[in-house]
Amino acid sequence: MTDMTAIGSIQHEPQFKINWVDAGPFIALAALLLVGFLVNPEFLSANNIANVVTRSAFIAIIAVGATFVISSGGLDLSVGSMAAFVTGVMILSMNALAANLGTSAIIAGIGIVMLAGVLCGLVNGVIVTVGKIEPFIATLGTMGIFRALITYLSDGGSIPIDRSLRDAYRPVYFGSLLGVPVPIVISIVVAVAASFILYKTKYGRRCAAVGANEDVARYSGISVTKVRTIAYVIQGACVAIAAICYVPRLGAATPTTGLLWELQVITAVVIGGTALRGGKGHIWGTVAGAVILELIANLMVLSDFVSEYLVAAVQGVIIIIAMLIQRLSR
């Protein structure tokens, strides 16, 4: 038993040991790359990989935010609708400002979309924490509200970006920095910033504590309301950043933008090793999870084994397997 050990023999450094739960998503990622290569050597080409990772960027960025929410013991179902709504707000305001500001309207639009994202997150957070409504129900409500708002704003059609801005804005999705596509760079920056907040600041420590056991956190003098609300605000900001990357790719916001993203986002977080009931968050696992989801979709397109119409089904199977692995490894 631990309690009878003499003090002299306390180990100072943790033994070097691979934590298989933590390493899981990366091993899965490597295995997937190998399978992909065997199925179709084209799969591992730099071009294809860059393409896949770029496409996974939105989900990755939003899922990084979701890691905070889930780590703090919450859940956000509204991210897909929120993405559509803030994209709509961004395009509308950029288009309105384009006449006066020219291409600087893009900068203004970025500011506006960030504000919109943060406010949407704040609304979610306040409903959950101050209103004391189950996160599932609260964000199910706002999910409907955001989706209805984008449908209303677009009048059921689409909100295209103004022609005068299209070329100036294009590089945010299609450009590259030192050979790396811009969305990948943005994802990495977001993930680095997020892991910094989650692992190196007091807020991050408190966030994991609130998710692990709300009572212990409360008795330790931590404001559960504040910590959870901030997690939703971070989620909102991440949705806004994803929207910024997304606009040049489609050039418009429509009522179907971001449809079912919440499922992919939650799947990425769970595959990444963060427990759905809260506790320690795994930012890089989440990023790997988002890439895995996109890789599988890509693999299904490149191979002829399974119809690509079944992509969502395969992703569904994956989330169940991930949960089973988490359960069995405990």
Partner: protein
């Protein structure tokens, strides 16, 4: 060690007419029982028997192997070597159900009942009686009534478990265990959550079972109960069997010494005469809706103030209300200055630390590392910079391990991997890291072994010697008497009296805790004045 045990026989051994001269046959025998997990031996070479109509107590510190032994005997764990015998035939229990079929039932320490179901539904959970495939509620209720009456429990079979008291839940759990045929009943720390009155009821039930010729295996931390009940006592230490002794030949101190393996000086530190004059924390008109009404008291610098009373008297709720952990109102003055506490953080910042009674549910993050647990309340104090530094976490932990004698194998353990006593020391260290001037400790030694108890008491004494004030809430009257300078006793949400000095006796406290209680419907058990 044997010198302690065998040397003295109690001068006034109560005449015991029921002592059976011819040894009754053993119901269950264990021969050379051992359990290893990998290379780690948790129990080795235990040989004992439990006879019909006797109470056989197992005592030992936390981690001594009591729970493992109990699990081996009731089929939850299979032994690595050794054998079990019933009626001179060897038996194996690969599953708890098989032990149960042989008449061995285990009354769990934790209350494992479905709160949203009725008493009768709980009793028959998983083995409901049916008639033609339809649930037969009437028969189950009838059997429940008679089973409950058998053990002196007066709750209605149709009451919801969530509406009955903790003590009644414990009794329902016992009734559930006794639904089957039973020859040996194993009680695992049955009195851990009960108040003294409730304990009496339970002990009476155990004596009744014993007189019916049932064999009882009784595992407990409370040596006074063991001394009263046990016909024989087996002592375990560090997974080894120290010996089996006739129950009434051992004093509590003998038992404690056998468990620890060395002479315990005294459990409680000597009370020093401290100058107690300056009020540290003054509380007036504290009200917590539904629990506490209009309580006023003060604790002084250098004083240990006790709060006694029964579970449910509102002691915990009083302090949770004062500290912003639940809705309540109170006027507070700290060192003569008025303070306002709206949320838990206000209390911590004002310098009032609170150690919850619920160590595992509200005190520690069991799945997190020791260091992050330790520093959780004092993050800004430990990490004055914007960023967290591992080295500062580690320094704080090394210091706490050293100061509070937390025994561990590695600094990178999770809090849940420590034993109860060491968890409690970690929690104490966590609260004291916020540098409070008033420390409120709710049930300081619940569920921890005697060596750790003594240490916690000495830490509490050191606290007040450095000029802090300390409030101790406890259901163990001996503990309050042993360490406090003054004891306030609560009953039904009010302070019913104060005892100091030579007045601090169990009788006085018990009287204040229970007197004027009307014969309420939950009331059961024998009243003694």
């Amino acid at each position: 060690m044997s010198g302690v045990a065998n040397g003295k026989t109690e001068a006034v051994a109560p005449p015991h007419s029921l002592v059976v001269e011819a040894m009754p046959r053993p119901v269950l025998e264990a021969k050379g029982l051992a359990k290893k997990y990998g290379q780690v031996s948790v129990l080795s070479d235990v040989t004992l028997d439990i006879r019909a109509g006797e109470v056989h107590a197992i005592i030992g510190e936390n981690g001594a192997g009591k729970s493992t032994l109990m699990r081996l005997l009731s089929g939850y764990v299979e032994p690595t070597s050794g054998s079990l015998w019933m009626d001179s035939a060897e038996v194996v229990f690969p599953k708890p159900a098989m032990a149960q079929a042989s008449g061995i039932v285990l009354v769990h320490q934790e209350i494992l009942l479905a709160e949203a179901l009725t008493v009768a539904e709980n009793l028959f959970l998983g083995r409901e009686l049916t008639r033609n495939g339809i649930i037969d509620d009437r028969t189950m209720q009838r059997i429940t009534s008679s089973k409950l009456a058998e053990i002196g429990c007066r709750v209605s079979p149709s009451a919801l478990v969530r509406d009955i008291s903790l003590a009644d839940r414990q009794l329902v759990q016992i009734a559930r265990a006794l639904l089957d045929n039973y020859r040996l009943v194993i009680f695992d720390e049955p009195t851990a959550v009960l108040t003294s009155d409730e304990v009496e009821t339970l002990l009476a039930i155990i004596v009744r079972l014993k007189n019916q010729g049932i064999a009882i295996l009784y595992i407990s931390h409370r040596l006074d109960e063991v001394q009263r009940l046990a016909d024989r006592v087996t002592v375990l230490r560090d997974g080894k069997m120290i010996g089996t002794y006739p129950g009434r030949t051992l004093s509590q101190m003998d038992m404690a010494n056998l468990m620890v393996g060395r002479e315990l000086a005294t459990l409680y530190p000597k009370k020093s005469i401290r100058c107690i004059s300056e009020p540290m924390l003054e509380v007036s008109g504290a009200t917590v809706p539904g629990f506490v009404s209009d309580i006023s008291f003060a604790v002084h610098k250098g004083e240990i103030l006790g709060f006694g009373g029964m579970i449910g008297a509102g002691r915990t709720e009083l302090f949770e209300g004062i500290l912003g952990l639940r809705p309540g109102t109170a006027k507070l003055r700290l060192r003569g200055e008025s303070i306002h506490i709206r949320k838990p953080l206000d209390a911590i910042e004002a310098g009032i630390g609170y150690l919850t009674e619920d160590r595992k549910g509200k005190g520690l993050l069991l799945g997190e590392q020791l260091a992050s647990n330790l520093t959780l309340s004092a993050l800004s104090r430990v990490h004055p910079h914007r960023l967290l530094r591992k080295s500062r976490d580690r320094e704080a932990l090394v210091h706490a391990v050293d100061t509070y004698d937390i025994r561990l194998k590695s600094y990178s353990l999770q809090a849940g991997q420590l034993s109860g006593g060491n968890q409690q020391k970690l929690l104490l260290a966590k609260v004291l890291l916020t540098n409070p001037s008033v420390v409120i400790i709710d049930e300081p030694t619940r569920g921890i072994d005697i060596a750790n108890k003594a240490q916690i008491y000495s830490f509490i004494h050191k606290l007040v010697e450095t000029g802090k004030a300390c409030i101790v809430i406890s259901s163990e009257m001996q503990e309050l008497i042993g360490i406090c300078d003054r004891i306030l006793v609560m009953r039904e949400g009010r302070i019913s009296g104060e005892v100091t000095g030579a007045d601090m006796t169990e009788n006085k406290i018990a009287l204040l805790a229970t007197s004027n209680v009307s014969m309420s419907k939950e009331f059961q058990g024998v009243r003694h004045t």
